[in-house]
Amino acid sequence: MAITWTGPFGGLGGGGFTGWSNNATGAGTLHTRYRDGDPESSFAWREMAGNLNLHLASSRRLVCSQRFNSTTGADPPKSNTGNDWTSRDAIYTVLGPIILTPNARRGMDQPPRLTVRVRARRTGGAANHHVRLYAVGSELDCIHGWPFTGARGAGYVDFTISAGTYPAGGFSAEGTLTIPSDPVGWYWARQAWDHLAVSTIGQQTVEVMTTHLVLAAVGDGAGNGTYVAALEVWEEAPGA
């Protein structure tokens, strides 16, 4: 079988081969050049390894992007003025279950991490308000179990909202939702992420990682609430 030479490497030395080779007639087709046992084949293998790692490290997935503002304005309808995280009033919306991709470096048994940004402002007052995105392991805990999860000490990312206007650039700085691997509190009998057996209909039952997302916010308890106008969630960069 003829093996076609494809062209230059992305770069030599410094431990880095990046980019994809391209052949003379088209783009993006990489073939090995060397025959079995040929010592010079190491160059091709190193380039292949570099290309694949680059692909894995660069291909983070969108989990959720959503506006909540009204049809004719910048603010959404809900503004929770209470300051009690255990109240259902603190729940803005729920999503899921979300299938989580194992990190290419940490593997299937390590909890995933998500990059989160929110667009939020307080309606008034001077105290700091807060927005949180929770990772919740089961549907039951999202709303039905919400008032009882008083501990709720883990599995969320918190954003401090200190201004009456939306942040520069429209969104908060990125926060990392690090989903814990251990349960916290007596009620959190499940982890905030879960292994779920999924029947693939005609193929086989496989186990995947899932979580649910609960967007929550509180005000100052003195009549001033929090608007959350948008949410954006991405997988972390796999190479991290």
Binding site: D36, N53, L54, V63, T72, A74, S87, V206, A230
Partner: protein, 346 residues
């Protein structure tokens, strides 16, 4: 029978010493990494979510009428993915008819779809969700691997509607790469056992697999399924549908983050298609997808439908703000918008 994949890991950056031939264990690492990417990097597709107290949640309007569509998503199916699972959180239903309403989820591949989310009638949710009103329903529907599917949630009645809190589309994963799949992404690790030669034909499978992986692993970059009503006339008065500011974007526009997939180093950017589900009551509407390096306009939006525009965005990362305007006095309705990467040619 293909073997199950090993732990999904990125591979050692230095698998082969210069001047030495490749050995089978290193080849197996590459195979595992390719299979990991194909099998486990399942895509969650577009989503819609409403907050408690939202007008759409209290009184649903997305009923599939001539002027207002059902909820719809575009989902770019991964290689080897054959089913999607759509999960909907509901807050009961409107109306007082004898029969409880339900949803049907259809895809481009399965136009009949799956019936699910049959919910009882309940009072309109206020600022808080309650235990007895909120339910979760899921449906599994067939898709075509590697295709762009239009996923639609169809209400069975335009008078009694299911109140949708949120909906998420996600792919159903598979345990092993399909060795008989037409996309030929499977690489048999049994051909790379220690002590045997790595023959040329098998050697060639690895880079071929990665070429296909890169070409087919394109993805959804942004989705938005919430209505916006724009009455601003002319591009000079365009309205940002998130910040609701008008005119030229300020120095700090409200920007979404965009993270494209790896693309050829020889190309200057990543090719994308922008989709808008919308309509205009007079003239035509335009939604400008303003990326950091330039704009992609989706224009000529008239009767209710899907409109598209193509262009190229920056590699690695980009930002996006969306601005709409109408050509004459009237209303441009934005119902949904998406940004999807385009596949590279072979």
């Amino acid at each position: 029978m293909p073997s199950a994949p090993r732990a999904p890991r990125g591979i050692d950056f230095d698998p082969v010493k210069v001047g030495r031939p490749c050995i089978q264990p290193r080849a197996l690492e590459v195979i595992d990494a390719i299979h990991h990417h194909v099998q486990w990097r399942r895509m969650t597709g577009g989503c819609v979510a409403y907050q408690a107290g939202a007008a759409e949640l209290t009184t649903p309007t997305r009923l599939g009428t001539a002027t207002i569509p059902n909820h719809g998503f575009y989902h770019l199916v991964s290689p080897n993915a054959r089913f999607i699972r759509v999960t909907v959180w509901t807050a009961g239903a409107t109306g007082s008819g004898a029969a409880d309403p339900y949803l049907t989820c259809t895809t481009t591949t399965d136009g009949t779809g799956a019936v699910f989310a049959r919910v009882p009638h309940a009072g309109a949710p206020g600022a808080s969700f309650t235990d007895d009103a909120v339910q979760v329903h899921s449906a599994t529907v067939e898709v075509t691997p590697g295709s762009l599917e239009a996923v639609t949630l169809v209400q069975n009645s335009t008078s009694d509607a299911v109140r949708i809190i949120s909906a998420v589309v996600r792919e159903v994963p598979i345990g092993t790469v399909d060795p008989d799949g037409a996309d030929a992404l499977y690489i048999n690790p049994d051909n790379f056992e220690p002590g045997t030669h790595i023959i040329d034909t098998e050697n060639d499978d690895l880079p071929l697999g990665m070429n296909l992986l890169r070409r087919q692993g394109k993805k959804l970059l942004h989705s938005d399924n919430v209505e916006a009503r724009i009455t601003d006339v002319g591009v000079a008065n365009r309205r940002d549908i998130l910040s609701w500011s008008t005119g030229a974007p300020p120095a700090d526009p409200a920007n979404w983050n965009i993270y494209p997939s790896v693309n050829l180093p020889e190309t200057s950017g990543v090719a994308v298609t922008c989709y808008v589900l919308g309509r205009a009551t007079a003239g035509v509407g335009t939604l400008r997808f303003a990326f950091s390096g330039g704009n992609i306009d989706v224009g000529a939006i008239g009767p209710l439908g899907i409109y598209t525009g193509t262009g190229s965005i920056a590699k690695v990362s980009d930002t996006l703000s969306k601005q709409g305007y109408i050509s004459v006095a009237g209303t441009f309705y934005h119902y949904a918008s998406f940004v999807v990467e385009d596949r590279e040619a072979a």
